[in-house]
Symmetry: C2
Subunit: 191 residues, 2 copies
């Protein structure tokens, strides 16, 4: 395991994202995504994965799920779920995640955005690994649900990471799998 | 993208696998796993991902899903799904997958098994990459659902791959995410 100098945080963003027609939406929580992101975050020792949604009912749903597995009967039956799910933190906006990190780390994080599309100036994953080792400022890496992060988020990010591509221009990984692969590329040192 | 000498096939195995008490079971199909494995296979140019289940109702369910996206209304609405899902092939056993590959390639595949546990003699992923480049025999890489492949499958495999580990002994990735990471480690050449 690569020990980065910079603490890496991730966020699964449900707003602002776009639908398949490119319209701005708030997407619904997929409970399975919460489990998968928590399990992958735990594997790569990412301390917090923010679940970003401004929708109150979706926050309530997420909180219920977390309570079940971290405090309720689920904790007794599957103790390893708590290890993972306690890393999730439900917040209403990307800004709230940024503020929480700033409070914890004493400095604001760099915002990195991921995308499945080609983006001008996007940074290769090997270079992003190096950035994590060279600069101690914390990083908040954003993953978009639905059809991806809105263009405003990409424009405001300090860094946009290259998409995960095979060699056939197919780029329709699920966000669960894309996030896992990206964590592995950024943090695994067996390469 | 690494172009391996050996054609790599994968299989998502629902039998024989074990439950959390280590008992032999046939697990249920998770339709989302089918989508995710197909999308990851497509990303890494894996021509066929076998869905192994001996249960007729589960085969029927899988076939319905594939028909919907590859022939039905789903194909018109989301054409990129067909690109991925047409790579799935539902078979009743690991042996049936092996036979299908033998018919297609003219020689039987090496069987590689993945596991989330430490296993004596397990092969590191970097070494497995090299094996794919040095030896042209096809490979069938097995992923177990539920609590993993049965011990008989691991014992009969030519090669067992090391688990995907962070450095905290937590090894509870979802099979969707584990399979994606392993495909990336074996086939991505951006390292």
């Amino acid at each position: 395991m690569l020990e980065p100098l910079a603490p890496l945080y991730v966020a699964l963003v449900h707003y602002p994202v776009v639908n398949r027609r490119g319209e701005l939406i708030a997407s619904a929580i997929t409970t399975l995504d919460l489990h998968d992101l928590a399990r992958s975050s735990c594997t790569y020792k990412i301390s917090t994965c923010y679940i970003v949604t401004p929708l109150k009912d979706q926050q309530t749903l997420s909180d219920r799920l977390l309570k079940h597995w971290c405090e309720g009967i689920g904790r007794r039956l599957h103790p390893e779920r708590e290890l993972a799910l306690k890393r999730l933190s439900v917040v209403e906006s990307i800004g709230a995640a940024r503020d929480a990190i700033e409070t914890r780390e004493g400095q604001a994080p760099r915002i990195w955005a991921s995308t499945a599309r080609k983006y001008p100036g996007a940074v290769a994953h090997g270079e992003a690994r190096e950035l994590l080792r060279r600069d101690a400022r914390p990083v908040l890496l954003l993953f978009g649900t639905a059809w991806g992060l809105s263009s405003s988020v990409l424009e405001e990010a300090e860094t946009v990471l290259e998409p995960i591509c095979g060699n056939n221009d197919y780029n329709h990984l699920s966000v669960r799998c894309a996030a896992s692969i990206l964590m592995d590329r950024l943090l695994w040192d067996g390469r």
